[in-house]
Symmetry: C2
Subunit: 442 residues, 2 copies
Amino acid sequence: MSSSTTKIVFTLSVLAATFVSNIWASDGAQVPLSDSESNPIKLGWMQGFPPPQDKLIMQPESDFFSFPKMRWTVCHIRELMPTKEVSRGIGAPVPMAYALDSGIDSVKFNPLGSNKPMTWKQSLSANYTDGMLVLHKGRIVYEAYSDCLNDTGKHAAMSMTKSLTGLLAEILVVEGRLNPTAKVATIIPELKDSAFGNATVRQVMDMTTSLKYSEDYADPNADIWVYSKAASPLPKQKGYKGPNGYFEYLQTLKQDDIKHGEAFGYKTVNSDALGWIISKVTGKDIASMLSERIWQKMGAEQDGYMTVDAKGIPFAGGGLSAGLRDLGRIGQLMLNSGEINGQRLFPKEVVENIQAGGDKNAFAKAGYKTLEGGSYHSMWWVMHNEHGAYAARGVHGQTIYVDPTAEMVIVRFSSFPSAANSKIDPTSLPAYQAVAKYLMQN
Amino acid sequence: MSSSTTKIVFTLSVLAATFVSNIWASDGAQVPLSDSESNPIKLGWMQGFPPPQDKLIMQPESDFFSFPKMRWTVCHIRELMPTKEVSRGIGAPVPMAYALDSGIDSVKFNPLGSNKPMTWKQSLSANYTDGMLVLHKGRIVYEAYSDCLNDTGKHAAMSMTKSLTGLLAEILVVEGRLNPTAKVATIIPELKDSAFGNATVRQVMDMTTSLKYSEDYADPNADIWVYSKAASPLPKQKGYKGPNGYFEYLQTLKQDDIKHGEAFGYKTVNSDALGWIISKVTGKDIASMLSERIWQKMGAEQDGYMTVDAKGIPFAGGGLSAGLRDLGRIGQLMLNSGEINGQRLFPKEVVENIQAGGDKNAFAKAGYKTLEGGSYHSMWWVMHNEHGAYAARGVHGQTIYVDPTAEMVIVRFSSFPSAANSKIDPTSLPAYQAVAKYLMQN
């Protein structure tokens, strides 16, 4: 590297670091360990026989999902919780084609709200990236693993799981097996007296149900804690009287003051309800459905898996772990409107419906600053940008980003210290757009 | 079917049923549901969304591993407990060749202690068989699945896990990385003050260590219960002061009155100690070692997995679940002295050492009626019969049975109501020998 190049790279690194510090400073929060400082292998988590006491990562979740421990945990969910397999079957995987492009690393972009350029490569560590895959015209042009992940490993997909649940539902809708205008109570009588009972399937799919449900983590009585206790696969404590499992919890939810369909509200319980709907319609759990309809048919190279509640019900709202390239196959399947490896897995209308997006006005009410003008439809985030991009997204930076115009798919696994994607979007969304432009020019 | 054939089959069925009833009656125990009556799919375990209360199978283990529930559980261990993957990697599986022989079903044999013949097919249900595979000269001549298992499913291997742990240790011995005459304390200083400290690696491998350790399930203070609590992956109850995990538990074990090396005593803790030895020597846990040395190299079609304790340590004494044909590959690998699909995975001395067997006198002291004249070596059961057969065995009827003379491998997954293989041996060991003879004549 020439000294001038070194200088530029150094300067950019400092700028990137400053930018990241500013994000945290604006929060009043303590600046966390950097990507490199929090590398789980360097920190020695779970290494040794046995690991020393201060290197153990164990139950409960409040410990194993705290930063920086969660940088190990995102690759090891199944070692901490019961899970159900998403089987790829037993045939040979279909390898993906490669056309690696080393130029991507130096693609520059301005982070949102900044006029100081950052390179693609810098953005990876700014975003605590564990795995990054870029597909262009169906071929892998960029692939990188770091921290806990490698190419035979799996990583928590978090709320990207929702988009796969939404995809299954949309397939059933297009196949005529699920009526989106039906009231939920007609499919799940057990939800008749809950908020979901008089909502439509479509309102559940688009998260425009009206629900009294608080995810205020600072409030010890917030619904999220009742939900967490219900969802835990661990045996309930003696004397516990609350709901056990996703399905019992959903029955307790009440409607909020507004009507269904008026506003988008990002609430995971909608995905659990949709998972239940799919199971009632098909007689199969979500993990089995994902296996049958997607994993066994897309040439997957690894099984996926889903966490389950104490009754064995897979977590349709966030339980999936999978390999990076397998999520790449899913992105490619979406980009190709339901086809992969010359096989059609579902009608093209499924993708057309998702890509068309949902109610922008309902979405605007939720006030997502980094996603202005967007919508949420069938549990996919639709950008409504000039490339018609849409995405599966999960906390701590997970994404499958599909750009139909650039014929590009990006999959990112990461373990950003904060759950909020609004903090990772400034250094990721413009990076995706810059790489899309770069690929279109080549 | 002709009426005379029907009559014979019916008569034989009645004889088989009588034989099975007699086994239970001799015990004074209640005759359990038959294979067909206890079919987990028929019984409806875990079916429905959600499953009705009386069809749920959940923690704790005393519930999920009780008969007949355990007939569902043996195929679903990972849905109840945290597990670690035994990865097959991401390459294409190597399919196994077929030469199915429908004549096997009617091969007859006399159960041990009986002069009333039974057919092979009858023995399958007499033994509550979930999966049965017979390989002859490397080709599948017989394959059957029932109850909870199918050819893309996995089943608990129970103590067959020990034989794989023993195989790994024997590989390290032959490779010169593990000294069988070394005292355990020189490898695991943490075990210095335990019974294992002054035992040799070989004594651990052959379970001739002298240990104060009771597996009397009727005694609430028996060591097995302390061990179970230590091994549980669930968070410990408040105020729990006992050992946490396999490694802490092993440190508490004291030596019995006799010397090490004098008598065989089938105690699972030896396998856990051997797992620890392997991890200290290689720096890798048992699941990773099984993946690296066996699963990734034998053309496996499914990943396996192992249960773990609360610290993520895989259960070397019984934690494996795997596919039927993948255990067939392991049997074939043994039969071929370390080669499979034209690849050598380990030196032939490994199998020669195991096959040679251990100390017959030490074994005789344990009084195994159905295995008289046998021995236990490197955690394999060596028959010392005229065919030189040896086996991996697990409670409730699991086996990999290797017959070098007949060039035959049998793998059985089952969920026999009683844990004791002494009850399943009478209708399985002579069946294996009869099929071996049949195959040699064809």
